[in-house]
Symmetry: C2
Subunit: 270 residues, 2 copies
């Protein structure tokens, strides 16, 4: 029987998920998870404890309940269920009150809300990443915080979007194509923005796999072509002293935070 | 003197940030935060505690330290600093070991790593959202998990990207333009995918503000035009019984999770 997990919040439940996911990923087992956001009324809270209790009755196993609930009256109801509560907000707020010498004043929807004064900057960054993806225009490169370089399908687009979405960074990206390979060099606009350049590279075998699933048995996807492109691009990075990372075994989270760590770009938080 | 906060991890530090940010946002004060990811060696860990201790010596205030460190030897070093540790992993892993009756087997980079078998599906979803943004093509609408509708600048693009990035959902979006307004109706391909349609709307005054900052004093940005478009679009949603949300006071996190909550679409986690 798979252990059942509930993520519950009177907000988006994103915090409860991230928190619970981090804790559960320490265990070598599978869980069956259900997320219930926006539990803002006592009626909804009561329907949620019914779900938790039904799961206990059916399986005989107490569900795990991760929650990040701001409203005390909602939290009390959830506490009364047959699940086992892991309440990280409450656990850490009291000691922090002691350390800071001030009382917490919880406001719902503050964590993932729009009140943050940098919210507009984030939306601007997302639009910037969309408009300056894949070298479709070079007009706005001077406004970039960072410009990712790399061959087709090495991870530029997801990384640019993640940098903009998660950290509010204006990330452009520029692709090197098959046609560039005979005489690989940086376009003038990129030379001018040299300090913003950051390279991505990838294992040629993995690149071949990815491209095969896009355009099977083409020159573009051939292992020979993948090897050639990766070799040329890495040589350019070294010659021009452009910092770079290998994306082969890394998620967008890892690639993006590695880029920030190596460049010293500031992380905004939303 | 602003209270100093450190987010520290031997991984991306995204979990430490989300966790700490959620706890700190319960307090009505400003913090000065520094994130240090990829603390993977004892040498780096020692340079980190020097930073923490220097801050204490300079300010006389103990820094707050949120960490999510998997490697025990690194965690021990960080513990020895003059900061006050808030260690949510350790705090919750032991009780969970008891509940589950199994030992945790921590593996670094599992939380935000690529091992997750649905990782490819996530990248596919991101590429899908990029390729099917703003109605640039209608060819792949049949493959969407959800299709967001709305007037220009009501929040379709950031919401689609967030749904794909955070939850692995294939989100397309389709704009209603000025020219559609005389006789507003659904294109054939959207009628065919009616169950996937979800509307966004926005307060006309806010829309006017946003459009003014894009294209000042145009017909497009006039309050009159904003009012007209919002009115027509909301009438269409009601007539066609398309569920919709108002994005005016909500972040992309709130809009996206509200959409999932109302449609019952499954959240994947990465």
């Amino acid at each position: 029987m798979t252990q059942k997990v509930f993520y519950i919040s009177d907000g988006t439940a994103i915090t409860a998920e991230v928190f619970g996911h981090a804790v559960l990923s320490q265990f070598p087992v599978e869980f069956e998870a259900l997320t219930i956001p926006f539990v803002e009324t006592t009626a909804k809270a009561k329907s949620v404890i019914k779900q938790i209790n039904d799961s206990f009755i059916t399986t005989g196993i107490r569900p795990i309940v991760f929650h990040s609930i701001i409203k005390p009256e909602i939290r009390e109801i959830i506490y009364s269920s047959e699940g086992v509560d892991y309440d990280f907000l409450n656990t850490f707020v009291s000691p922090l009150e002691q350390q800071l010498g001030i009382k917490a004043s919880p406001v719902i929807h503050r964590t993932h809300g729009k009140a943050n004064h940098t919210y507009e900057a984030r939306i601007d960054a997302i639009n910037y990443a969309m408009d300056n993806d894949d070298g479709q225009t070079m007009k706005h490169m001077d406004k970039a915080d960072i410009i990712l370089l790399g061959v087709s399908r090495c991870g530029k687009t997801p990384s640019s979007l993640y940098l903009s979405m998660q950290f509010g960074i204006k990330a452009a990206n520029y692709p090197f194509t098959e046609d560039d390979m005979d005489n690989l060099k940086l376009p003038e606009v990129l030379k001018r923005n040299k300090s913003k350049l950051f390279g991505l590279t990838i294992d040629p075998n993995r690149l071949h796999e990815i491209r095969q699933s896009r355009l099977e048995n083409s020159r573009y996807s051939s292992l020979r072509q993948c090897r050639l492109e990766v070799k040329e691009v890495e040589m350019l990075y070294k010659k021009e002293r452009i910092p770079f990372v290998n994306t082969t075994n890394h998620s967008v989270e890892e690639i993006s935070t590695k880029i920030l760590d190596m460049t010293g770009l500031e992380r905004h938080m939303f």
